[in-house]
Amino acid sequence: MSYSNYEQKVVINGYELPGVQSVDGSYGISEKPVRVAGVGFIDAIVDQPLQGNFSINRKMVGYDPLLETDFNGKYRFDEEEINGAILYDDSSKGFSFNQARISRYSVTCSVGEIPDIQTDITVYGNLGKNGLEQTGTNSITQALGTFWGYSSWFFKPQNGTDRSIIQSRVRLLQGTNNSQGGGISHSFFGNIYLSLLYRNLEEVWFFLGEDPTADPGGSWFYTSRDVMGQVASPTNGFTYLISESKALGPNGWIEWFSAESLSGDYKAIFYNHSNQQYYGFRRDNTANLISNQSLPISSVPTVSIPTRIQTDNFLDYITEATPDIVYPNQSSIKVILDDFSIDAISDFSYTRTINTSPVYALPKGNAQNWIQGAPANSVNINPVQIDTQYPIETDINFSIIVDEYEIREIKDRVQAAPKTSVEIQILDGKDQARVINSFKGRGVRLVSESLNSSTDGEMSISLTYKGYESYHNEI
C-alpha cells in the first residue's frame, strides 16, 4: 500500500507543521572493515555513532513554531534539541526521532512567490518507528542515596533553562512507591513561579504565572496519571507550599523532591550556572526553612531524563495547537536596512548555519553488572551532550532592481568594515499589522556585491550580508 501526500503529517516539537512540501529523511551506520594479518578481511564492525538527517521544505503559511525565542531573544533551536515524527497511515504509523538539532534554517523568496523555508536537521538520538518512545532507566531513590533518603518524583528541565521547564511541558515525572500523597512545590525564576502538584492520584498540575496561589485553570496545565506513574494516595483538593528558594538566573535548573508524607520534608537541589554552585534546600510542610546549604558537587546525583514519555498513540506526538494559516503576499514582505534605503527587491534569502558538536561517552556499569553478565547500567548510546559550535553564521542575500543604488567602494568597505542591521518582516497579506515571521541580522557586514546586466532583463545588483552570533554576547 502506498500513502498519498495528503495523508502524512510532519510533527516537530509537538507542532504539526503547516505548508510542508517535502521531507527527506535518512540515517546511516558507519562500519569499519576489520582486516587481520594472515587472514585479510574478517568482518565489518560498527565504528561511529548512528546519525540521521532530515530536510524539510515548507511554504511559509503561518507562524513558524521553530522560530521560538528565549527570554534573550535568541532562537531556541540554536541551543535546544528537538524531536519529531512523520506520521502516515491515518497517523497510526510514524517515523520519529529525538535528540536532534537544526543544522541549517533557510528562508528564500522571490517576487510573486510565497516564501520557502528549508530546515536541515541532524538526528543524534533515536530514529525509527519508536524514535520518540523512551522510558526512564534511572531509579531516583537509588541515585540519591542516603543523602536525600527518598524521593517520590522529580523532573529536570532540558538544557537547564528555566523556560525549558515551563515550555517543555512534562518531560517526565517518575513515580515511585510513595505511600502518602498530595503536595505541591513551587519555585520562581525571576517573577515567574513554576508550581507542581498532584491530586487524587490522577493528575499533575503545572502553573506558570506570578501568583501560584491562584486557582487552577487558565494558566494551569496538567498531565495525566499515565505520565506520573504510581503516585501517592488521594488527598482532597490542592495544598500549597510556597518556597522561598533561591531565585535562579536564566541558566539555572532545579530538581524537586516531594515529601514522603504530609508531615515530611520537601527537598530540592538547585544548580546555578552563573556561579556554578549547587544549593541544597529542605523545608517542612509548614513552609519553615529547615536548611539551606550549599552542597559539594559530588553530593548531587546526575540523572538522565528521557525527553519524551512513552506512548503507543502517534497522535499523542501532536501536543501543540497548529498555528493559524496566514499567507503573505508580495506587498506584505518588508526588508529594513540600517545603512541605506533600498530599491525594489526582487528576491532575498536568509540562512542560519549551526554547527553542532556531539559528545559521546563510554558506557558506565559496575561489578554487579559483570557478575550477572548484564549490560552496563548506562549504555551511553546517545550523546551525553550536544553543543553548538559558535559563532552561528547568518547569511542574508538580496537582489535589487537598480534605481538609485550605487555600489560602494570596496576599499572603503574593507577599511571601515561597518556593521549594520537587517530585518526581514513577513506580514499577513490581509492584515499587515500582523507579523507572521521576522528575521533579523544584527551586526552584519556587507561582504559581497555583484551586478548583473543583460539584454533580457533589468539591471540588478545582488548584496550579500554576513553576520556572526556568539554564545554569551548580547545580540
Binding site: 587481520v36 594472515g38 587472514v39 561517552a361
Partner: protein, 305 residues
C-alpha cells in the same frame, strides 16, 4: 629469484603457536656492537701513533623487539583463559588470577616470513573510546636471531570482537567521586613489567653457542617490577588532590584507593575479561583548546610488584 613483497593476507602472525588477529606488527632485531679503536703504529709524519679502527665486537646478546596491535576477541582473552601470550592480563585482572609473571620464554613465534624463539612480554595495553573496536597493544623483547620460513596464512570467518559499545567501566576516586561524576571519552589501560637479563659466567662459551647464529642467550630473564596504569579522559577532574595522591581534604591512612574497573564485553554481549587498577592518582591535567570541549586526564597507578 627473490620473493615478492608479502601481502597483508599472507603475513600470518602467531606467538607460541597461537594465531593472533593482528592488524599491525613491527619486528626489529639488532646486535649490540662496540667499535674497537686502538692506537696504531708509530707514524713519523706526526711523530706519534694514529688511532685506528680494528673491528666491531659484540657487547651483548642479539636482541629484538616485537610490537603488535591486535583485536581482542573472546577466543584470545576470555574469562576462563588468558593465554600465556598475554599473561600480564591475568596479573592485572580484578581477581589477580596470577601474581607473578613467568620467566619462561615464548617459542615457536611467526611474523610473516620469519620465525624466532625466546620472546618475553613487557607491556600490554588497550584503549576504549566510544563506538570503537577495542584494540590492544603488546610489546615483547626477543633474544636470538630470526629464520626465514614459507609464507603462511590462516582462515577466520568470524570473530567475537571486544567492543566499546558493550564494554564499560566503574571509577571510584578515593571514595569521593564515583562513575556518576564522570563522562569518559576514552580510557586507557596499561600494564608493564620491567625485566632484568641475567647471564651466567662462562655459560655462553661453548662451541655450540659460537656456531649458532642466535649466539649467546640470557640464562634468565627475571621480572623486577610490575605496574599498571589507567588513564581516563573525561569531563571531570578530582579536586583536593593531596600530596598522597588522594582526592581528599585530609590525609588519612584509611583513605580509600582510587579504583578503575574495566569490564570488556564483546559486541554480541559476551563477557571477555575484567581488569582492575587500584592505586593512587599519579597525575591529572586539564586541556582547553579552541573548537573542543575542555577535557581532563587522570592517571591512576597500581604497583603490583
Amino acid at each position: 629469484m627473490s620473493n615478492k613483497f608479502l601481502r597483508f593476507e599472507d603475513g600470518k602472525i602467531s606467538l607460541n603457536g597461537k594465531e593472533l588477529m593482528v592488524n599491525s606488527a613491527s619486528l626489529s632485531i639488532a646486535p649490540g656492537l662496540d667499535i674497537e679503536r686502538v692506537y696504531g703504529d708509530y707514524d713519523s709524519r706526526i711523530n706519534g701513533a694514529r688511532v685506528e679502527f680494528v673491528n666491531f665486537h659484540p657487547n651483548n646478546h642479539i636482541k629484538g623487539k616485537l610490537d603488535i596491535s591486535f583485536y581482542i576477541s573472546a577466543d584470545i582473552i576470555s574469562v576462563n583463559n588468558v593465554n600465556r601470550l598475554f599473561e600480564l592480563a591475568e596479573i592485572g585482572s580484578a581477581d589477580k588470577a596470577k601474581s607473578k609473571i613467568s620467566e619462561m620464554p615464548l617459542n615457536n613465534n611467526i611474523v610473516g616470513r620469519y620465525t624466532f624463539d625466546n620472546l618475553y612480554l613487557n607491556n600490554f595495553s588497550f584503549q576504549l573510546s566510544p563506538f570503537s573496536l577495542i584494540r590492544a597493544n603488546a610489546s615483547y623483547d626477543i633474544y636470538g636471531t630470526i629464520k626465514k620460513i614459507p609464507d603462511s596464512y590462516f582462515s577466520k570467518a568470524d570473530a567475537n570482537f571486544a567492543h566499546s559499545l558493550k564494554s564499560f567501566s566503574d571509577i571510584k576516586i578515593s571514595n569521593e567521586l564515583s562513575s556518576d561524576e564522570f563522562e569518559m571519552t576514552s580510557l586507557n589501560y596499561e600494564i608493564n613489567v620491567e625485566r632484568k637479563v641475567n647471564n651466567r659466567i662462562r655459560a655462553n662459551e661453548s662451541s655450540t653457542v659460537k656456531n649458532s647464529t642466535s649466539g649467546a642467550l640470557p640464562f634468565r630473564v627475571s621480572c623486577e617490577k610490575i605496574e599498571s596504569n589507567v588513564t581516563i579522559e573525561s569531563n571531570n577532574m578530582p579536586d583536593n588532590l593531596n600530596e598522597y595522591g588522594d582526592s581528599s581534604y585530609f590525609y588519612s591512612e584509611n583513605t580509600a584507593k582510587s579504583v578503575a574497573d574495566i569490564f570488556l564485553y564483546s559486541l554480541s554481549g559476551d563477557r571477555i575479561y575484567r581488569f582492575q587498577c587500584s592505586g593512587k592518582i599519579m597525575n591529572q591535567s586539564l586541556d582547553i583548546s579552541e573548537g573542543q570541549h575542555a577535557k581532563s586526564k587522570i592517571v591512576i597507578k597500581e604497583v603490583i610488584k
